[in-house]
Amino acid sequence: MKIVIGTGSCGIAAGANKVQVAFDAIIAEKGLDLRVEKTGCIGTCYLEPIVDVVDDGGKKITFVNVTTDDTRRIIEDYIMGENELKELQISESDITMIGKQKRIVLRNSGLINPERIEDYLAVDGYLAAKKCLTEMTPEEIIETVEIAGLKGRGGAGFPTWFKWDAAKKSPGKTKYMVCNADEGDPGAFMDRSVLESDPHALIEGMLIGAKAIGANEGIIYVRAEYPLAIVRLQNAIDQAREKGFLGHNLFETGFDFDLRIKAGAGAFVCGEETALIASLEGERGMPRLKPPFPAQKGYWNKPTNINNVETFANVPWIFRNGGDAYAALGTKESKGTKVFALTGKIKKGGLVEIPMGLTLKDTIFDIGGGIKEDKAFKAVQMGGPSGGCIPASLLDTKIDYAEITKTGAIMGSGGMVVMDETTCMVDMARFFLDFTCNESCGKCTYCRVGTTRMLEILNRITQGEGRDGDIERLEELCYKIKDGSMCGLGQTAPNPILTTIKYFRNEYEDHIYHKKCTAKSCKPLLIYTIDKEKCVGCGACKKNCPVDAITGEKKKVHEINQDICIKCGKCFSVCKFDSVIID
């Protein structure tokens, strides 16, 4: 019998390490013959820490939201006793959430120990690589990926086979296979999860790609903000090298391939291929004009192919199950599955992998369980700073590259941030512009100055200083920035503004003309008053008001002087009687 603990970053943040220490202590105290093992993230982050108890027959019972106090009960009552501890076990509806998915990229996540290559080998790991290296020609490999219809999962959705083919056909002996693991899109974390939970899937995918294009050297560009991912990946690379899956003369075919990690230093624009290459070369990560494409002139001017983590993680499955099996999933134009990070105001936040073609509604309500506190759904943000907000009226949109693009958002890397009635859409646009304005590399004037000007306008609007003509001015800037920027960052930076104006123009108008934020989120537009019925005169608000705007005697109704009030919200947060009203 063994105990398996989910120790992805989410699990650890929820207390998985403490749970592990507690288990170890109890096992030592009782002298039990029990192994405690690690696994990655199963995706149901809202249930972390998750603990599986697996008996010798392989039967698995999952306990969720385990605290250190629960560990003793699990050992004494469940493992040593007869109590099933139903109240700690995963519920039926949560099992359904996992059951409704189709897991290809996440096939091993949360099931195997990411720190042991033996676990990966036990689930047929590296068999696909062996097949590709020993039995297939580069042309056949590329053809299989073409049949599968795999598209780049990093955002742009470019056909993977096409890139591989271009790099393969590019003349030159030295070629590079690069993995973009610089997951910069705020709100997306599937790449981190794959790196932490199933690093060998990425290595195997890269190895197959390397064989296809003829690269002998690979580089994985990982965000420095993912320390655990870097540790597990390095460990996996070392083990793969030891077992002969990386290095010289792999599978005795004469083919050499080795991998190294390069830690990124934090720049969103490095998601752009040419910027990423500049960063790999130790320079400022600024994009350059294409062509030449990286497939012709990339890292150190050699042919280079760049794919993202999720794309590579699909590859081994495709070769074990066939390109047709992959293409059988999804829609006509978008094949296979896509991993989404469901976050924001959603009940069951986490990572879900679903076949393309499911609707947004299915994903958010069926799988994600709907909106927190059953509030009203307002919009879902897809594609991060390059994407847009999709309103409730379009919830039946299918998840498909073309369909999502039609709404004004993009598929992106798979962030789905769900928003309810308390989220202000103007503030959302301001939030993303604040991000892109910071992350603009500064090369193109339209992107550098344009995003700054747009942010200034949005700041004004959310502070109650919007002017007539602001919406039109924003739209004009948006189109000019799209046209005047060289790389994807600038070209897509206006999307959050354009989609919110398109679907939530009334909110912009409320802010500008009526000085009102219906979501009650933009503080300068709010008016704080005290409910005469509820106020007991405790004086907490008066004491905490930083500008002495509140008057009133003890045990009598207090009042806020609107001329002095700076709308900091202190009174609202300290009032224990809900008597401060925001309007």
Partner: protein, 192 residues
Amino acid sequence: MSHETREHHHEHGCGCGCQGERANPFAELSPILDHYADIPGSLITILQKAQELYGFLSVELMRYIALETHTSIAKVYGVATFYTQFRFKPVGKYLVMLCQGTACHVNGSKLVEEAVMDFLEIKEGETTADGLFTLNNVACLGCCSLSPVMMINDDTYGQLTKDKAIHILAELKEVASNETAGLATIEQEVIT
């Protein structure tokens, strides 16, 4: 007084800030510089290792790296300031990184930030007077389903509320004050 390091002669006015008077202040960096000397494109990696060693990149340190790697100080500074990971001021014992990603924003990271700033009495990017805490906003820590999130040194804390965030900081503060108190006692014992 002058001395040699890897390809650089230190003396008064040599440009690396040592004035030739002190022993090489960045001697610990030498093995790293040696290791990466022949690997092109290693500037970012060298800067990362340097920051790991010294906590932040001072002008002197960047000037030294420029000299040792035969690059201009402008390039080193240009690369360092391009990336958010690099810091140019000393940081406190605890580096508090408040996630400002989309999910955190939607779930109220601003409120947490305000509470933390009130509690520590500093603004974003500053360090407390006692040198314990530095507060930084970061783009996304990738723990979106536990938002709002913050990371203190290597530990991640999720599902924050104003109270929870302050509680965590207060605990760290207490641990630190106990440590110094402990040190004081040890010192006293030594004296007596």
